[in-house]
Amino acid sequence: MADALLTLAGVHTHIGHYHILQGVDLAVPRGELTMLLGRNGAGKTTTLRTILGLWRASAGAIRFESEDITQRETPSIANLGIAYVPESMGIFAGLTVRENLVLAARSGPPEEKRLDWIFRFFPPLKKFWQLPAGLLSGGQKQMLAISRAIVEPRKLLLIDEPTKGLAPAIINNLIEAFAELKQTDTTILMVEQNFHAAKSLGDSVAVMDAGSIVHAGRMAELAADAALQARLLGLSLEAHQ
C-alpha cells in the first residue's frame, strides 16, 4: 500500500451536545481512491467536514503530508491543496457555470487545456457555460461541483456522496469520469452509499459505524466477501445494491 497522504488519529468531534466522531483512526493512501462507507448517521460526512475544519475536532490529530492541520482554519487547510465537494454540492446558484469555475481556480483563470479535459467528462458544462448554475439539472449541478474541485490539480479531493439522487445513466457517467480522474494520481476520499459505484471505483475502503472506523482494508477484498459486506454494511447495502 502507498504511504498515507492524510491520517486521522483518535479524532473526536462534538456538534453541540452530540458526540459524533468517537475516535476515528484513518489513513488515506497517496494516489488512491479511498471509499468511506457506512450506514446513515455513522459519521462519514462529519469526518470529511472535520478534515476540512468546517467542524473543529475536539480531540485527536489530523495530519496532511505529515503536517498537523487539526486546529487550522478552513481556508488555510483548503490552500494546502484540498478540494471539497459537499453532499449538497454547494454550487453558487446565482453565478454562471463559468463564474463557479473561475472562482474555484485559485491561481488564476482556468486553463483552456484543463477546461477541455473537464468538458470531455462533462459536456453539458460547455453547453451551459454562461447559464446561472441554479438552472442546471441535479446531475449537471453535481458535474459542476466535481469540476470545481478539479479545475486545478489538487492533492486531495474530499467528495461526499456524488451519486446521491442521480439517475443511473448519470451515475455511470460519473463513475467513468472518476475512473479517468484516478489515472491522474489524484488522491480521493469519497463517501458513497451506492455500493456498486463504491466497488467500481475504490482502491481502499474504510467502513464507519457509530462515529468510528470499524473496518479498513482493500476494496477488492470487501467486494469479494459477501458475509463481510452484510456484517459491516447490513441493510444499507441491500437497499442500495
Binding site: L54, A93, L95, V102, L103, L131
Partner: protein, 326 residues
C-alpha cells in the same frame, strides 16, 4: 443559452410610473415628481447598498448603519464650511472644488469609522443576532452623543453651493439641479457596483459569499477579510449618501441617519436581503411611491412605504430579487 434577467420588477416600476401619470394628469408635474422620486430612491440606494451586502454576507444586523450616514453628513458640512469661499462662489468649477473634497472626506471618515466599528463592535458578536442588535443599537446611541460632543446639539446648516441650487426649466417642467445630480451619482454608484460584482473576482467572491459563505471558505478564501472590506465600503457609501442627503435637505441633525433607517430596512427587505439589484429596484420603488403618494394623497403618504413593503412581500416573500441561500 443566455442567463435570464427577471424583467417583472422593472416592468412594475414602469407600470407604477405610467399609472401615476394617468392619475396626476399633468405631465410637467409628473416629470418633477418622478425626478424627485428617482433622486430620493437613488440616495437611499447609496445609503443602503452596503448594509444589504453586510447582512447577506455575514448575517450581521447592523442597527448602527445610520451612524455612518450621520458622520458623512457632518463631515461634509464641516468641510464645506472650511471651503466656504469656494462653496459660496458663483463659479461651477469652484463649487465643484468644494463639493468634491467634502464628499471625499465624508467617504474617507465614514469608511475609517466603519473599519474601527467592525473591529471593535461587530467582530466579537459574529453569529449572535440578539447581541448584534443590542450592541449596534448601543453603539449608535454612544456615537450620537459623541457627535453632540464634537459638533454640538444644534442643527447644522449644510447649504448647497450656489450653482447647485435652483432648477432647470424645460418648457413648463422644473427639474431641480441637485436632484438631477443625485440621480447621476446614484446611477454611477449602481453601475460601479454592478461592474465590481460581475466583472471582478472580488465581486464574484462577494456574490458567492452571500449565497454560501462556508463553500467560499472551503475553496480557500478568507470570508472574514472580504467581509471587513465590504463593511468598510458599505460604511463609506453610507457616508457619501449621508453627505448627499444632508445637502438635499440643506441641514444636518444628529438623527439624520437614524431617521433614514426605517426606509433603508424597507428597501433591503423589499429588494431581497443581500441583493444589490433588488436593493436598487426597491430603493427606486420606495422613492417613486413616496413622491407620487405624497402628491396624490398626502394623508396616507406616511404609511405608504410600509404598505408597499407588505404588498411586495405578499407577492414575493423573499423580496424582488431573492438571493438563493445555502
Amino acid at each position: 443559452m443566455k442567463p435570464g434577467i427577471d424583467w417583472i420588477p422593472p416592468a412594475l416600476l414602469l407600470a407604477i410610473a405610467l399609472g401615476a401619470l394617468a392619475m396626476i394628469g399633468n405631465p410637467s408635474t409628473w416629470v418633477t415628481l418622478t425626478v424627485a422620486g428617482l433622486a430620493m430612491g437613488l440616495l437611499i440606494f447609496i445609503m443602503s447598498s452596503g448594509l444589504t451586502l453586510v447582512f447577506g454576507l455575514m448575517d450581521v444586523m447592523n442597527f448602527a448603519h445610520g451612524l455612518f450616514i450621520a458622520i458623512g453628513a457632518y463631515v461634509a458640512a464641516s468641510t464645506l464650511k472650511l471651503l466656504s469661499a469656494a462653496a459660496g462662489s458663483q463659479s461651477f468649477l469652484a463649487n465643484l472644488g468644494a463639493v468634491l473634497p467634502a464628499m471625499l472626506a465624508a467617504v474617507l471618515i465614514a469608511g475609517l469609522l466603519g473599519l474601527a466599528f467592525e473591529r471593535v463592535i461587530i467582530k466579537p458578536v459574529y453569529g449572535q443576532h440578539l447581541k448584534q442588535i443590542l450592541i449596534t443599537t448601543g453603539g449608535m446611541i454612544v456615537a450620537e452623543q459623541l457627535i453632540h460632543v464634537f459638533w454640538g446639539p444644534d442643527l447644522l446648516p449644510l447649504p448647497r453651493p450656489a450653482t447647485l441650487r435652483g432648477s432647470f426649466l424645460i418648457g413648463d417642467m422644473a427639474i431641480e439641479k441637485f436632484r438631477l445630480i443625485a440621480v447621476i451619482v446614484g446611477l454611477a454608484v449602481f453601475a460601479a457596483m454592478l461592474l465590481l460584482l460581475n466583472r471582478t473576482k472580488i465581486g464574484l467572491l462577494i456574490r458567492a459569499g452571500v449565497e454560501n459563505k462556508e463553500m467560499v471558505e472551503a475553496m480557500g478564501y478568507r470570508i472574514r477579510r472580504l467581509f471587513v472590506g465590504v463593511f468598510v465600503a458599505g460604511s463609506a457609501l453610507a457616508g457619501l449618501g449621508g453627505a448627499l442627503w444632508g445637502m438635499y435637505q440643506e441641514s444636518v441633525t444628529v438623527h439624520i441617519g437614524a431617521n433614514m433607517m426605517v426606509l433603508i430596512f424597507i428597501v433591503i427587505i423589499i429588494g431581497g436581503l443581500g441583493s444589490i439589484g433588488g436593493c436598487f429596484a426597491g430603493a427606486v420603488l420606495v422613492g417613486l411611491v413616496a413622491n407620487y403618494v405624497g402628491y396624490l394623497s398626502p394623508k396616507i403618504a406616511l404609511g405608504s412605504n410600509i404598505l408597499l413593503m407588505v404588498l411586495v412581500l405578499l407577492w414575493r416573500p423573499q423580496g424582488l430579487y431573492p438571493v438563493s441561500k445555502q
